[in-house]
Symmetry: C2
DNA sequence: ATATGTGCAAACTGTTTGCAGCCGC
DNA sequence: GCGGCTGCAAACAGTTTGCACATAT
């Protein structure tokens, strides 16, 4: 059972030097799994680290993404969102409240027959609509 | 059998005034179904319409998208692609050649149980990887 | 004559890059 | 002391906006 590794361990396993800002970013991502944007992460962390720059958040996330520690999620034309969960799941973005929900994805379900002999490296599935809370 | 309507008809059906540039954009989209970017459309059409501005292409595509004549396809973090086919299909982008392939999508296949009582308005499915041509 | 489409230029936004200074080992 | 992390400022790319001119009916 691998479960929830600590930010320190995660970084160590991927040979990433555990600087204070990196640890904080990873900590933020793994606690609140809100698919935050760069801006949200930055706004949240500047409180503890007043000198934190957005550049560092960008650098850090790019680094994490290359190491497959996080995934850049496109649910939205404008900003990129980041997700620590690397297992295969879809995203649903509510047009009304803007919240992003995860939903499980079966493995081989889609019409992937059409992609025989293609090497699939990444699957992105995102829906848009109105969530149950906003419909009430 | 509805099949291929002419650009004129398509625009008329959606109460869109058939200006020269609009017709040309629609014509381009429906002939080469290449999921072109704004830039590609513009580059292609300036040849016939030397005064054509990108702004007009943007305006036109936004107009078409609102009328559900085209779909904005996000397969790529940077530029938006446009697609006349509004039926449900997935996109595969080759990391090597950059080409975008369509593939059919079954209807209710995914793990959508998790989204019971959500109102799904739009499904986006895109994969990344290496296409069969580039693997050889 | 009026409403609407077009296109230039400038603004905007998210992201990237260059580079000087700083910190930890 | 050295490698490399940080963060400012400037560059960048795609897109949007403001506005004057052109165009069609």
């Amino acid at each position: 059972m691998t479960g929830q590794r600590s930010p320190e361990k995660l970084l160590a396993e991927h040979n990433i030097k555990p600087s204070y800002q990196r640890l904080k970013v990873m900590e933020y991502l793994s606690s609140r799994r809100n698919h935050p944007t760069v801006d949200e992460i930055h706004r949240a962390l500047v409180q503890d680290i007043p000198t934190l720059s957005k550049t560092t958040v960008y650098n850090t996330l790019t680094l994490f993404a290359r190491a497959n520690l996080v995934r850049r999620v496109i649910v939205d034309d404008s900003e990129a969102h980041y997700d620590v969960l690397t297992d295969c799941h879809g995203h649903f973005k509510c047009d009304s409240c803007g919240r992003i929900y995860d939903f499980p994805l079966g493995s081989d379900l889609l019409g992937e027959e059409g992609l025989a002999s293609f090497e699939i490296r990444e699957r992105n599935v995102y829906y848009r609509g109105i969530c149950s809370t906003c419909r009430d």
